[in-house]
């Protein structure tokens, strides 16, 4: 997480016997944001813009560098159940959810358990499903910097990426190592997917869903989007040109425009 001005403050809450830290920023209807596998990236431009009309609630996933690791959480479904309990105890349901990458997988598992806890679900290049063709890039046996470089279609054309991660110091390195270790705990095998998820997604009813994917995603092949869209009734698909795994960084304006239209829809 780059050190930058954040229009959010860190809060702490008990969920059952465990402590969860989360960020809260902005004003308006609450929007649950679930960050990706490299940990909280910092207060991105997209967060800043969204916070003008929404109150962002961003849980800092347990074990990903800020919230303490929770030993009993051993897979993404455990994590999803934990967040469902958080929402319920904080009387936040139904809430709109925006999940990025690994956070998108968490949102999908939550929707499978109980679609009614969400009003809208936006998934940005989520893990969770085996690509129909190609493979998911191996985060766990790749230097983080190389993984990050592969997370955008064009590193040069994504100036915000270097703003966020330009010169990673020891602190950033430690956060990455924490995040990668926890992601491995949750999803080492099968690697970053749940074989039963496509079937389970078919059971989601009445939840407006948007799936956003960069056509040039080098982390999860864009063909994976089809699996989500086919399985979730009425799901909309937004494929972005010249865009990799991080549309919120690389194609921020197009991404936000599409997202805002979707969240405003009924």
């Amino acid at each position: 997480m780059a050190v930058m001005e954040m229009s959010a403050r860190e809060k702490s809450v008990q969920v059952g016997g465990d402590t969860l830290k989360y960020l809260e920023g902005g004003s308006g209807a609450p929007l649950l944001v679930l960050h990706g596998e490299l940990g909280f990236p910092g207060w991105t431009d997209a967060y800043e813009q969204l916070s003008k009309s929404r109150k962002l609630i961003i849980p800092l996933h347990p074990g990903f560098g800020v919230s303490n690791r929770i030993d009993w959480i051993m897979n993404i479904r455990d994590q999803a159940c934990f967040y469902s309990r958080f929402l319920q105890e904080q009387s936040l349901t139904p809430i709109d959810v925006l999940g990025f990458s690994l956070g998108g997988w968490m949102a999908a598992e939550m929707a499978v358990n109980n679609a009614a806890q969400f009003a809208h679900m936006a998934l940005v290049a989520p893990f969770g499903v085996r690509p129909p063709s190609g493979e998911i890039r191996d985060l766990f046996a790749t230097p983080t910097q190389n993984y990050l470089d592969a997370s955008v279609a064009d590193p040069v054309g994504a100036p915000e990426l270097s703003k966020l991660y330009g010169e990673p110091g020891p602190k950033q390195y430690e956060m990455w190592e924490d995040a990668r270790a926890e992601a491995a705990r949750l999803a080492w095998v099968p690697y970053m997917f749940n074989p039963s998820l496509p079937r389970l997604l078919e059971g989601i009813k009445g939840l407006p869903t948007l799936v956003v994917w960069g056509k040039d995603d080098r982390v999860i092949p864009a063909s994976t989007a089809e699996v989500f869209v086919k399985a979730i009734k009425g799901a909309q698909l937004e494929l972005l040109d010249k865009c990799g795994h991080m549309p919120e960084i690389e194609k921020k304006d197009a991404f936000l425009a599409r997202l805002n239209t979707f969240l405003a829809s009924r």
């Binding site: 766990f140 046996a141 790749t142 230097p143 910097q145 190389n146 491995a184 705990r185 080492w188 095998v189």
Partner: protein, 435 residues
Amino acid sequence: MHIGTFTERPYASLAENEVYRNASFFGVSNKHFDPKVGAELYHRYLDQFVYAEELGFDVLMLNEHHANPFTMGAVMDVEAAILASRTKRAKIALMGNPLPVTDPLRLAEELAMIDMISRGRLVAGWVRGAGSEQIANNINPSYNRERFNEAHDFIQQAWTRDGPWRYEGKHYHYRHVNPWQKPYQQPVPECWIPGLVSPETVIWCAQHRYPYLALATFLEPTVEMWDMYADEAERQGYQAGPENFGYLQKIVVAETEEKAQELGHAWLYGGGQPAFARPEWMFPSGYNSKAATARLAKAFTNPETGDVALATVSYSENVDVEAAKKATLATYKGFQDSNQFIIGTPKSVLPKLRHVMETIRPGIMILWHIEGGPITQEDALTSLRLLGTQVLPEMRKYAKELGLTSPDEVKPGSRPLPASGKRLPVVGQISRAAQ
């Protein structure tokens, strides 16, 4: 002192440029493996161990690595079983079985069988396995330490507790534990723990009173770790001694200095040990604690020259093979000066060996003799013969003089602390002064 021998049993006919191009032994395609060559090499290495026993070595040490031409011992227990039958006297030390990536119940059976076939000559050794073993076996590195601890405790039970019984742990579950193979050594086989000075492992060894075998690490961090072991031993209420410590020493001996130096370069074959696996494979997500990562980097940095023996840069697809070879060659002298490689004639290696023995005072010393690519069996057997006939007897004299007691002479963990409750030094003065 126990004096043993070891070889990595490399797949010696691999073109070294393949390793350089990949910047790592791990990951080179197995399309380069020829089973006919493999067959000859297995017999060659087994014959070396049998010969080593004839020469009087006390310990035959094996190790295990997967998917890697650096070592052909992917299933070391198979080689151990053969040696158990072909040899009569030497201990067969398995340094070690990578617990997190193996089925612990099956391992308990295999090791008990080796112990019986050898009539009690097995030395079991537990390791976490290099990062690349987790990748090659697809075992979650984030749970590596937990799996290691759980598998270790389970195997001790499987060897000692009358079955059948059920086991339900965090990472392992068995509905019927009742192995009909029990260790020849009762209640459990002798055990040493090999390692690369990860502090968690060192402390764990001291707590279990297992001898710790440092795998060819630089002397300074080795001394530091043995002090850490001895401090923990003091907390556990015993005085650590040479019987608690082992050391693996790289060595090449030939009839002449020139020949020895020629053979010594084989240590650098393909980039040598630092090229075992790239950092992203050595340290997959969650494999190491932060403290261990920092310490490991230090253990592989030559404190005198600053040469980093452990590759820390991330791999680029455009490897300049000639530049990489040159960089590897440039480390050769430094490694000799720091006694990482001891290379010479029997006469010239002895003072160096003595220096190592005086500095770290091990009760077990394993000679990792001649290694690498283009080494003939004749050169390897000559090196072994010279070590066995001219070096080994002198080392025994030094050991006696220095009081380097083996685990057979003094049971590890049985030495009482002085009346003050404060431990005595476990390492020599020379390195302490050098620190």
